[in-house]
Symmetry: C2
Subunit: 220 residues, 2 copies
DNA sequence: TCTTAGGTGTTCAATATTGAACACCTCCTT
DNA sequence: AAGGAGGTGTTCAATATTGAACACCTAAGA
């Protein structure tokens, strides 16, 4: 391992490490809306997202669906098996062309033990993920569906492409938004138009989310 | 209670290790409803709950409060600082007499590096916690407040004392329940009485939760 | 080209939920 | 014993939300 830079903290690149080291893994590619794993599958491997976006969906017995996470390159998913979950508790779906690394549970545990920096990175990832899910939970507990939708749009916009000044959201249907926010499609449509009338979002080709949408969340 | 079988795997006792090894820590004791740390405090230490119960509360700017977790002995909390969170994002309150270990962030990181079994235990804890919060989120997304209350009662009952055949819940006010479930106290009162009339719970001194309460969750 | 599947805007009645009261308890403390 | 601070049961009107339609639009395939 190269000498640690004094200042550079998050120097270690888990993706590069996984890709280039002797870690036993497999590269898998998926196309839009293909299923990576299905809720109820036996679970014995962890995934690392190299490129593209993935959504994590939970289905209820009543047939409802909820999107609990949208993942970006650098994220792990399916880590539940390390904690002893025998089955997948959610379904992972590619939102576009996607490339992932699949690492067997036992191999993952081995690597976590042997490579301290990788272990650090993994723990950091879990902690961050935890923070994020907890934020989502608090959002549900505190806010109305209008505010939750506003927050979801802002988050997607920033994650989607943080380089553009005017945030353009990747193609997300109202149905998916409804499943993320925890409401019905009709409601999403209603609020989207309200936001549009107020100038918070625009529809020029793709969807544009303006920062002023924050007012929806902040105000009263 | 029969003697613990040495069934190989979860043999390592993180609490014992923390308490007896050379890990730099501090033992702190609190009484009922004392604050362990406050949302907004600077955060540079992790806590390990030795005995008692702790609730984690998030306050919104609008003055609403949400209980995002009830912790039991063996749980860590305040781990956000390891992920780089500079401030506490929630308040930790003792639900009764409580004894905790406080470990500085830097010391915690050192121990995670040096003691493999401890590290495993910590990662396992984070993963489990993650699963739990995600379940709570899904619960919010799918279920009505009636079902959420039923689930909360069942969870508390089982956690509270898993040794008794008839589950007796520790003293939890309707206000706290409302904050856990994400609804109003009036609503909790309403459903509690509904459950009682249906024989799902009883009020003999303490609150008794019957397994039949599961029907509320399962039935359509 | 025709057809179809998915996405969207919109409506409406039926429910669920809130927020804020009020009266009544039961512990505590003074 | 009086007072107070929680906790509880209950009410009510005002809102928010659902669920299920229906019509319209677009893109993509046969």
């Amino acid at each position: 391992m190269p000498k640690r830079k004094a200042s550079a903290k998050q120097q270690f690149d888990a993706g590069r490490y996984l890709a280039t080291s002797g870690v036993k893994k497999r590269i898998l590619n998926f196309r839009a809306s293909q299923t990576i794993f299905l809720q109820g599958d036996v679970s014995h491997s962890v995934f690392y997202l190299q490129s593209g976006a993935v959504k994590i969906v939970v289905s209820s017995s009543a047939g409802k669906e909820a999107v609990v996470a949208i993942l970006r390159p650098g994220d792990f998913f399916g880590e539940g098996c390390i904690a002893g979950q025998p089955l997948r508790v959610a379904t992972a779906v590619a939102l576009g062309p996607v490339s992932v690394l699949r690492i067997e549970k036992s191999e993952m545990i081995r690597v976590i033990h042997e490579e301290r920096e990788f272990s650090d990175r993994f723990v950091a990832h879990m902690l961050k993920r935890n923070v994020r899910v907890e934020e989502d939970l608090v959002d549900q507990l505190f806010n109305s569906s209008e505010k939750r939708l506003a927050r979801a749009l802002l988050l997607i916009a920033r994650y989607g492409n943080n380089e553009k000044p005017q945030h353009i959201v990747a193609r997300v249907s109202q149905r998916t938004l409804a499943e993320m926010v925890g409401t019905t499609r009709g409601r999403v449509s209603f609020f989207m138009n309200k936001f549009r009338k107020l100038g918070f979002i625009k529809y020029n080709g793709g969807l544009q989310v303006h920062d002023s949408l924050l007012r929806v969340i902040l105000h009263d």
